[in-house]
């Protein structure tokens, strides 16, 4: 369908994307506002970025968030990939229904319940709340997202490739390492990125499982914006939006090129 869009469709796309992007655009514009009063424009200034970089509490929180994000998404990727492999390839085993239930349930579980239940677990285990408990909590809820992403890739790829490797004498581990993993690798990477983003973004579960010395950035932002709009938070939001936009656009360009290359290779393969 390459016909021109009707005025109705053009209007709904324009209004829809204006609705999605205007609030963030306003946030970005006002982060450069010289005035402390967030609704009055008093000229261009980058002073809030300076204030932000001098605010030790924010820097500490950012550092905690980054460490938690990297650690939890790495664990989540390993566990989630293993879980996806089990779900798609391991066949029947005892307790499989419970296993698949435990993988999908966290996706629909309200964060307040996940946070509350994990906190009560950590207290009954006698674990001190801190970075470790946040990492454990984030690993648990993000591994389910990873396993969904990876298992959808595992389901679509040609299983005969694995069988061929096994027939040719590779061990199960070698066939996974040399055949399966390279094929599902893009999905594993997007799983990691998804887990990382979810971890960076999480307020509720982190609030339940963090201790006084391990405040994450969302917790810090939340307590600041409860008091209303602040230009420093606008500056911080702008930085975060910029990082995400650059990341997503780069990732989509890379995957577009990968798809093109794959298509080209397939065509070459068909010809020979």
């Amino acid at each position: 369908m390459n016909r021109k869009l009707s005025w109705f469709n053009v209007t709904s796309l324009t209004l829809g994307f204006a609705f999605l992007y205007l609030p963030m655009l306003i946030l970005i514009i006002y982060s450069f506002n010289a005035s402390k009063l967030v609704t009055v424009w008093a000229g261009f200034s980058t002073k809030w970025y300076g204030e932000l970089l001098r605010d030790q509490q924010f820097l500490d929180a950012a550092w905690v968030t980054l460490r938690v994000g990297v650690m939890s998404s790495t664990f989540a990727t390993i566990l989630g990939t293993a879980a996806a492999y089990v779900m798609v390839r391991a066949g029947k085993f005892r307790g499989r229904t419970l296993f698949s239930g435990m993988i999908y349930a966290p996706l629909v579980m309200p964060e307040v319940i996940t946070g509350l239940s994990l906190l009560l677990l950590f207290i009954s285990l006698g674990l001190d709340r801190g970075i470790v408990t946040i990492v454990l909590a984030h690993t648990t809820f993000t591994m389910c997202y990873v396993s969904v992403v990876v298992s959808s890739r595992l389901m679509t790829f040609d299983q005969s490739l694995e069988e061929a490797a096994l027939d040719l004498g590779a061990s199960a581990w070698d066939s996974f390492r040399l055949v399966t993993l390279p094929i599902i690798f893009p999905a594993v990477i997007s799983g990691w990125l998804l887990a990382f983003t979810l971890s960076l973004d999480d307020l509720v579960i982190a609030s339940f499982t963090s201790g006084p010395s391990s405040t994450t950035l969302p917790i810090k932002i939340f307590s600041a914006v409860r008091l209303g709009v602040s230009p420093e938070i606008n500056a911080l939001s702008t930085i975060m939006i910029a990082i995400v936009a650059v990341g997503v656009i780069t990732a989509s360009l890379v995957s577009k090129r990968a798809i093109q290359r794959q298509r080209a290779e397939e065509q070459v393969g068909n010809r020979t």
């Binding site: 609705f19 609030p23 296993f99 309200p110 307040v112 969302p218 939001s237």
Partner: protein
Amino acid sequence: MNYRRFLLIAVPYAWLALFFLVPFLIVLKIALSDTAIAIPPYTPTLDLSGGWAGIKAFFQGLDFENFVFLTEDSLYWKSYLGSLKIAAISTVLTLLVGYPIAYAMAQAADEWRPTLMMLVILPFWTSFLIRVYSWIGIIANEGLLNQMLMGLGIIDTPLQIMNTPSAVYIGIIYTYLPFMILPIYSALEKLDGSLIEAAVDLGCTRAAAFWRVTLPLSRPGVIAGCFLVFIPALGEFVIPSLLGGSQTLMIGKVLWEEFFSNRDWPVASAVAVVLLLILVIPIVLFQKNQEKAEEAGK
């Protein structure tokens, strides 16, 4: 069975059992405990160290006291109803906003679609908290919207949107819109355009063809989108606490306050158990819908 296969299954299994299933049983246990002023602030009624006798005593002493309390204090059932109402209304509103966008995307030229898709998904990767926060500066009493409307002379006194349910609707529509657009788009994208042409050729008007062909065929996507908005909206905490003010009662916020402000663990746990029981219904219906859609797709 070799030990590698065993390990592959056992490790994620054990992890999920320890960090998902067990915490849940603890919530259930504490929900059945008595509130106490102590650390931790509850008296367990289930004492496993007492062995069989302890379990027996637990079942004999089972009084569901905290659950009875939830029915007695109107705050709780009002919050559950409030959550259901807000989630339902905002789901319908999100559908009304999302459907035209998904429809227009499906009508767009092929080379435009990946870009439009990316534009819909991009906000999803941006911080949820920031997206909710971005509305405060717009809808607050001295916010941009009121300034603009007053500057144009449309209104004299600022509209009170902030700290009302309307602000929560806006927040939910804004943050969950991608979840509504994507399933509807993927249903509409698969739709065979010649069906519409056939309907028009046979004397249908464009509007009637939409109503009688396009809409019914996009139904699985609409239903999936509605559940994907309704389910998380029901337990939402961030949006009502930043935009809803103290008058908007939603159960996620009540649970949070029960735990952090009142430090009443047993009641917070009971609130969680009941919320989960309510959530089971839409989750099961959603699952059914997905299975049906998958079968239809085959």
